[in-house]
Amino acid sequence: MAGRRPIKVKVNGIEYEGYVEPRKLLVDFLREDLELIGTHTGCEHGVCGACTVLFNGKSVRSCLMFAVQADGADIMTIEGLSDGKTLHPIQEAFREHHGLQCGYCTPGMLLTSYELLQENPAPTEDEVKTAVSGVLCRCTGYKQIVDSVMAAADAMRK
């Protein structure tokens, strides 16, 4: 049996140190070891996107990475999107346009949108659809999600 390995990781600006079994998925490490339960597990095979986090600034499926791989990494989860006082413009737009219902896919949607808007501050509706098509939502039918991201793009450009 493979032994536990030390890792040091920065999540939402805070340094954590811990020991993990190599097979522990990053999503389980975030949820169980760091108690950052905002990141959700939906399929554990990389399709649904609920577990999406930003890994060194890029979106990744945290169910398709092992926690050991995060040693030295800088991670942002849903808990790190707002400044702790006011909603981030993307969060505000999702609220304004009803871009969420049950809220389970929402962390993945928000972080995927965040990455999109970093790379492409003025996306077309089709570009938004393409970007968020990697995250499954069973509640909204996506229209209000797309509206939300478009509105967030507007707000963030201002």
Partner: protein, 814 residues
């Protein structure tokens, strides 16, 4: 009153309260709950669809470090009894296979270990010896004598069988100018919420009490059923559902066997046991909608009037049948003739067993199955009569002045204006223009299709409908059942702020927000001054057997309860205020945070003062009034009555209307579908929050679209499920849902306090029919028959090839 109107919160796009936790990662889902000393369960499942379990060897698994115990079917049989179900001969359905497995994915044993990882390691060490049996996968074959029998105690694969006649269908068919017939096959698909099933169970052997955190959609009937199966009184089976459920859609009403199973694992191991269903488990063995074979006939007059329907439907609930099934076959009883004034119906129902996974209500609960047949048949009738499919619908609609309208089957349609809504949909897509376009396109070899469906969407089931599964004479032997109750408690704190305690158990429908809007209107306060706790806790919530979020109950009965409780509270406030103002209660009104004397508005007292008095100076209250300031209600819908002797029942309590009008084009080469126009018009009564209703409508469209074009629990002929991952079970993505024009007609329901009714399921019921009709219409020149779903490009291409080959052959022969 213009000021007053401006201040109304109901009807506004009021932003959701729920979002302030869900957007920032502070939602509370079952998997987020950490209890001390929690161990983790993994379930070993049958790879075979039908087999005897000859032996299970768990010894190696039990030796693995970190494993705390193993529960097998033998334990389950010793510690519990089969789940009760309302069919004449119930199968022996336990939470785990005991001596036989009947579908791939059926639980066979549970391992409890320190981590889920170790529990799964242990599964590899369990050896199960199976003796394989022949399988039956086809619905019609399953009902034939001589096919492999799943349940020896039943002796056949037929769980439920009824023949019912409403009106005089035989005569109607004799008098018909024309009879059209069709056979339809509706697939097995499910809503696959992104949050899977989740259970955390513990058992105290000293108090003999279970406490189970879960994400079930209410206590509903299944709380009683699980308690009964585990042999504990209901008050010792405490269920707690936290504030957030990651989507339900009916699928999560299928999780209660796991509540039982994990409770038993907790009891056997003495540990608190957590089980989070993984996606593969979910796709193999959670719950789907029912796949159905329908033979349907319509008796018509030359002018298009539908005199009668004959419907033989065969539903497949898979390896077992469990409550609320056989609801699948009976849920639509009251609205079985849809949006049409059809006086006669001949119904035969069969619910059968096959070696497929099990079913549960799935958003729309078999109305999609029903309307796929009805609405395809209406289009076929129009074609046979050379009528426009829109025209035949107008011809047969129940008229706006006929409401409330009692259907042949006992449904009491509360309100509607079907003509107006349907016309709106046709106008939105520019129907005439697209018919002309279609003709031109056909000349160019392009396949443009226009499809429509007009349906009645039932909400708030009356629990009594399930008893239609029993013939009247058997039904008479047991206690009658009826009702659709919902409870709300509202309280005002000493400073006049309001807290609402509900048990509607939402899964994203925004009940907190709408409750706060309603309460704000009733008490003339701001929604921000209302907080809500809407969870299930069978110990500290008031509920009935019907409580939960399913069958779009909230906007009807849920709202009735909110309004009723709030008005009771308001009465108390007025009474106290009147006493403090030394006038009669009839002389005061509540406005702007003050009680004022109507005749002399300068005489006021602040609500906050009234609230303070109720809490701080109880002796000042009107005589006989309870101390504090709260009101409770638990009410049902008045139309929720048991079935009559003719099997007529108002199976739901409010009935919305929905129609789709779709213009699409099929690529003649690849058979991919492109949408040109899509209008979806809804009448769900008075709209409480347009933003939320729009979200519900879009969501239900996406589910309808998924089931029609993408999603299916596919099995091979040997009983293997081929779609046990999200790589093969295909949910719609943001790129698969086209732009849709949503329209509303609002005919208030006379049976609900604010005129509202359910809005979340309608398009699930209409979209499969409308898409089927649109695709059939597109391919009509080829003579392609569309009678099944999902219509994948691969399937459409094969249908086109067959039709072309047939035409060619006919050409050769001619």
């Amino acid at each position: 009153m213009s000021d007053r109107e401006k201040e109304r919160w109901v009807g506004k796009r009021y932003k959701r309260k729920e979002d302030l936790r869900l957007l920032v990662g502070r939602g509370k889902f079952v998997d987020d709950i950490k209890l001390p000393n929690t161990k983790h369960a993994a379930i070993i499942r049958s790879p075979y669809p039908h087999a005897w379990i000859k032996a299970i060897d768990t010894s190696e698994a039990e030796k693995l470090p970190g494993v705390r115990g193993v529960l097998t079917g033998r334990d389950v049989a010793e510690m519990s009894s089969p789940f009760a179900v309302g069919v004449p001969i119930p199968p022996k359905y336990y939470s785990c296979a005991v001596d036989k497995v009947r579908f791939v994915g059926e639980p066979v044993a549970v391992v409890v270990a320190d981590t889920r990882y170790i529990a799964e390691d242990a599964l590899d060490l369990i050896k199960v010896d199976y003796e394989l049996l022949p399988v039956v996968m086809d619905i019609e074959e399953a009902a034939e004598p001589g096919s492999p029998v799943l349940h020896e105690n039943i002796g056949s694969n037929i769980y439920s069988h009824r023949v019912m006649k409403y009106g005089d269908p035989d005569r109607a068919f004799k008098e018909a100018d024309l009879v059209v017939r069709g056979k339809f096959h509706f697939p097995k698909y499910g809503s696959t919420p992104i949050e899977t099933y989740a259970v955390i169970a513990s058992y105290n052997p000293f108090s003999e009490e279970f406490v189970v955190y879960n994400n079930y959609q209410g206590p509903f009937v299944n709380h009683s059923i699980v308690a009964l199966a585990l042999g504990v009184p209901e008050n010792k089976m405490r269920w707690i559902v936290p504030a957030d459920i990651g989507g339900g859609f009916g699928t999560k009403t299928g999780m209660y066997p796991y509540i039982a199973l994990i409770s038993l694992a907790a009891k056997k191991t003495g540990m608190t046991v957590k089980w989070i269903e993984d996606r593969r488990e979910h796709l193999l063995a959670s719950a789907s909608g029912t796949d159905r074979v329908t033979y349907m006939e319509a008796a018509l007059k030359k002018d298009g009037a539908i005199l009668a329907l004959k419907d033989k439907a065969m539903d497949n609930t898979g390896g077992y049948i469990r409550p609320p099934e056989p609801g699948c076959a009976y849920r639509s009883t009251g609205n079985h003739t849809g949006a049409y004034n059809i006086a006669n119906l001949d119904r035969e129902i069969m619910v059968v067993a096959t070696n497929k996974s099990l079913t549960a209500p799935n958003r729309g609960y078999t109305c999609q199955e029903l309307y796929f047949s009805v609405e395809r048949l209406v289009d076929m009738a129009a074609a046979a009569l050379d009528m426009d499919p829109a025209e035949i619908r107008f011809k047969n609609f129940i008229q706006a002045d006929q409401f409330p309208f009692t259907t042949a089957t006992g449904g009491i349609y509360d309100s509607g204006n079907y003509q107006k809504a349907f016309q709106m949909a046709l106008d939105t897509i520019d129907y005439k223009k697209w018919r002309a376009e279609q003709l031109k396109a056909r000349e160019q070899g392009r396949y443009i299709g226009i499809g429509m469906a007009t349906i009645v969407d039932p909400s708030v089931t009356n629990i009594s409908y399930v008893t239609v599964a029993l013939p009247p004479e058997l039904r008479a032997r047991s206690h009658p059942k009826s009702g659709s109750g919902e409870s709300v408690t509202i309280k005002m704190d000493p400073l006049g702020k309001v807290h609402v305690i509900a048990c509607t158990n939402p899964q994203g429908q925004g009940h907190d927000t709408v409750i706060s809007q309603i309460v704000a209107d009733e008490l003339d306060i701001h929604p921000e001054d209302v907080t809500i706790s809407d969870i299930v806790d069978t110990h500290d919530r008031i509920y009935t057997i019907t409580t939960g979020s399913y069958s779009s109950r909230f906007a009807s009965v849920g709202v009735n309860a909110v309004v009723d409780a709030t008005r009771k509270l308001k009465q108390k406030i007025l009474q106290i205020g009147a006493k403090l103002l030394a006038v009669d209660p009839g002389e005061v009104e509540l406005k702007g945070g003050k009680i004022r004397v109507k005749a002399s508005p300068e005489r006021t007292i602040a609500v906050k003062h009234v609230a303070g008095t109720a809490h701080w100076n109880q002796s000042a209250l009107p005589e006989g009034m309870d101390a504090g300031l709260f009101a409770s209600t638990l009410l049902s819908m008045p139309t929720s009555q048991p079935p009559d002797e003719q099997d007529r029942v108002d199976s739901s309590n409010t009935y919305g209307f929905c129609c789709e009008a779709i213009v699409l084009e099929i690529d003649p080469d690849t058979c991919e579908i492109k949408f040109h126009k899509w209008a979806s018009v809804h009448d769900s009564g008075v709209i409480l929050n347009p933003m939320i209703v729009e979200g519900q409508v879009m969501g239900s469209i996406a589910h309808g679209l998924g089931g029609s074009l993408l999603e299916e629990f596919a099995y091979d002929e040997n009983g293997q499920c081929l779609t046990a991952s999200f790589q093969d079970y295909l949910c719609p993505t943001a790129m698969d849902v086209p732009d849709i024009d949503i329209g509303h007609v609002q005919t208030p329901s006379p049976y609900t306090a604010l005129g509202s009714k359910g809005a979340g399921e309608a398009s699930c019921e209409s979209v499969p029919a409308a898409l089927g009709n649109a695709i059939a219409d597109a391919l009509a020149p080829l003579g392609v028959t569309i009678n099944e779903l999902p219509l994948t490009p691969n399937k459409i291409w094969h249908l086109v090839q067959e039709a072309k080959a047939k035409k060619e052959q006919a050409g050769h022969e001619a």
